[in-house]
Amino acid sequence: MGDSQYSFSLTTFSPSGKLVQIEYALTAVSAGQTSLGIKASNGVVIATEKKLPSILVDENSVHKIQLLTPNIGVAYSGMGPDSRVLVRKSRKQAQQYKRLYNEPIPLSQLVRETAVVMQEFTQSGGVRPFGVSLLVAGFDDNGPQLYQVDPSGSYFSWKASAIGKNVSNAKTFLEKRYTDDMELEDAIHTAILTLKEGFEGQISGKNIEIGIVDASRKFRVLTPAEVDDYLAEVE
């Protein structure tokens, strides 16, 4: 990719010092369905809207939140197919680390390597930046962590964050509700309430996805039934 005739970058500086392609990529992200994540004292929760284009789509076949390693999961906002490429690359990087060191990859290292890939696509020849921001959640030897990775390749660790549509409202809501000693169960309720804030239509276990990781270090996506239970608790 990016060799031979395409050895020049398509992402170049504008006179104002911006990389316009990255700005446009961030616009694509802002048009994507809302995702958010909250780091609790004993775990992390990430959640995303799962609005499908038609009622005929089989929602069981759509997995927006995916596993990168047994203890790390990722949600995205933006272009789904771009996120799949990144998930694939990240999974491979995690496995390579495991093969080399016989040890699960620390979350910060996996995030860094993924961010490096995203940055490469803003500088290599013949390619465009990824049109996704990722929320990566995991539990490793440094405890629960939540990271956001942007199309530019910059990454940040967050206590709570939202990406996609409706970001400013969601973040304001999270700022009000977040406490440092929040536990995972509270965080799940808060995540649902935040999603509900900007949700168009009736929220249910079929049109949102929630992934959690706790001290057991096993990341899992909640079943629609479990999500419905949490929704009922929140009412």
């Binding site: 093969r99 080399l100 060191y101 016989n102 040890e103 620390p106 290292q109 860094r112």
Partner: protein, 204 residues
């Protein structure tokens, strides 16, 4: 003449009570001619992790440089030292990369885990790891070393007793091998200190 016995070497690592000892001979030879009597085979990777490399001297040096490089980068990225088991996996992977044109060296890895328990292991020249609870040996004198360690080793020795045991095992074994010897060097590592001593044996 085998390439692994071109330079001559003898290495031992032993497990003690919350400590470990790693020792080697000091001879560097070109077949039967002795070139140096202060050759370094044991290297510190970090305060509680040491690696000893036996075999072809050029590969000993290159392997050490490559391992030091990898650990430095790891340290910068992960902002912590490598655990001994992790390092052993790294050594194994690096050796296997050269499966069909290997480094002619057989490393011994010895370190202390974060909880203070000692860890030792050895690998063959293409990375087959061999963990051990008591001792590991490597080098041209390995057969004698195995015998000496087997009879002299006792579990849960304190650092000073461990020093005596490993020194006796090393000196008696290299005396039975004409291409290793010319003294020895022993490092006894506990959580809070490292004691390094040189040994004077039969200087031949």
């Amino acid at each position: 003449m085998s390439i692994t016995s071109y330079n001559g070497s003898a290495l031992i690592a032993m497990v003690g009570k919350n400590c470990f000892a790693i020792a080697s001979d000091r001879r560097l030879g070109v077949q039967f001619q002795t070139i140096a009597t202060d050759f370094q085979r044991i290297f510190e990777i970090h305060e509680t992790l040491y690696v000893g490399l036996s075999g072809l001297a050029t590969d000993v040096q290159t392997m050490y440089q490559r391992l030091k490089f990898r650990h430095k980068l790891y340290n910068l990225r992960e902002e912590r030292n490598m655990r001994p088991e992790t390092f052993a996996s790294l050594v194994s992977a690096m050796l296997y990369e050269k499966r069909f044109g290997p480094y002619f060296c057989e490393p011994i890895i010895a370190g202390l885990n974060e909880d203070g328990t000692p860890f030792i292991c050895t690998t063959d020249l293409i990375g087959a790891k061999q963990l051990s609870k008591d001792f590991v040996v490597s080098g041209t004198a390995s057969e004698s070393l195995y015998g000496a360690c087997e009879s002299m080793y006792k579990p849960n020795l304190e650092p000073e007793e461990l020093f005596e045991t490993i020194s006796q095992a090393l000196l008696s074994s290299v005396d039975r091998d004409c291409i290793s010897g010319w003294g020895g060097i022993v490092h006894v590592v506990s959580a809070d200190q490292v004691i390094t001593r040189t040994l004077k044996g039969r200087m031949d």
